[in-house]
Subunit: 148 residues, 4 copies
């Protein structure tokens, strides 16, 4: 099973059109990413406050399939994948009561936080990638068996 | 016991000073308010999307006692109180590992959502006020007993 | 010349990494879109508050080339383009002192705001598209002449 | 004349009630504060990114007099005042077409950014306070003369 994160849409997330403001959907995805890091025993405070290594996003994209409303219960599932020695990509699927409402991608590069030069992914991220990717693979296999 | 809401500080909530951006603390409080409404069986989607009655905030204040960092686990407790036929006030206390980090107040007035004229608090809000206030009173009594 | 919008990076736009939080860059782009609508004599209040026709974003993507810091003076240029009877796409380029820092795209579909069914782009949007596209074409021609 | 800042309400600032989300009004005020610092020749990037001295907000309050809508043109005027060797307070008034829509206060304390211990207000802030306070006093005197 891929990592999943539950998130209620807050009043603040909506705009005058009565639905979630588009850019906020990427913030929901980032929350899921943070939650998955924590589930992998990474200390969020150290990770985000004055770290020696950082993982800035170099690309993000999002597709909106249905509007999300205040009070909606979102289920965000994420699958991270290593795409180079110093890069990884995360794909996200957001559903409400099992109906897909949005899909997104964030691509991250690993840098030294002070010099901002690229560097190899550290062990804790390799471990996080492995854990979540293995989970995703088992889920895929389970799905295949169910279909057969 | 007063109503409590658990909230992890997200990366998005912080600013370049490395701590939570001040105005976001009021948003955390509003989330706790939304959660308490839902716990009182109020449908959030109906409450916030095209409602006939609305409860806009006419006053808010917040005191910051200690900085909050990304990853911090906040516990927000709230106590609402009726302060007139068409008004209520909510007081919030935010703690991190039992240390108080912020206190806040929001004051709400009840209006007809289309005409924006004031009106009496509806039954579902009276019930929500009663439930949370009674809880708060029991907590106070319990505290007194513990002191004695 | 394509439409341009000046925007100072605010403290609120940054996160604990000391730079602009990624999703906020899409909000900057949306602000530029709003400003270009207003420059085309579209009344923003009517456009966004209880309109009969709406233009929700169905896709967005953004590439981050360099970090943006609090206080940075952004110049956002945008070029909208009709991509169907009921769709348009906007491309954005963000520069700081003539250095490109980000590029983005938003794709919008035209819907009836109450039924949420697709409909043809209305005249005021066709006019806005024409105005900004013509500007963009002249800029391209001017650039070509300068190169020759 | 007190320092003034013009700000258009953006779509992002609104919520599903069709008006500005309450906590965002304090962010508008903070933007006005940032703009006034810059007008006093303070470099915002240095001020907010890894500074040696910081001015965290210890108290904020806001009164909402009328709703603000997407597209509204806000005029925010601010008056800062020294309230101790290591503290200052800013009062803000927000108007739309000369009608007051909100009033707010932020109270700031001066700290050493690394140790977080209180310290005396530095010269550049004393100068900013003087400049804006003198302006405010002249405005008051002008008003008195106009009344007489």
């Amino acid at each position: 099973m891929s990592f999943t994160y539950n998130r209620t849409v807050r009043f603040q997330d909506t705009d005058a059109a009565g639905v979630v403001y588009f850019a906020n959907v990427l913030s929901f995805c980032h929350e899921a990413y943070e939650e998955s890091l924590e589930a992998s025993s990474i200390n969020l405070k150290e990770f985000f406050t004055n770290p020696s290594v950082a993982f800035p996003i170099v690309h993000a994209s999002v597709d909106f399939l249905r509007p999300m409303f205040g009070g909606d219960k979102l289920l965000i599932s994420l699958i991270p994948q290593k795409i180079g020695g110093d890069k990884f990509e995360i794909t996200y699927e957001i559903t409400v009561t099992e109906v897909m409402v949005a899909k997104a991608i964030t691509r991250h590069v690993c840098i030294d936080a002070s010099s901002r030069s690229k560097q190899e992914l550290p062990d804790e991220i390799i471990q996080w990638l492995g854990m979540n990717h293995r989970d995703a693979e088992s889920a895929e296999r389970r799905k295949s068996r169910e279909i057969m």
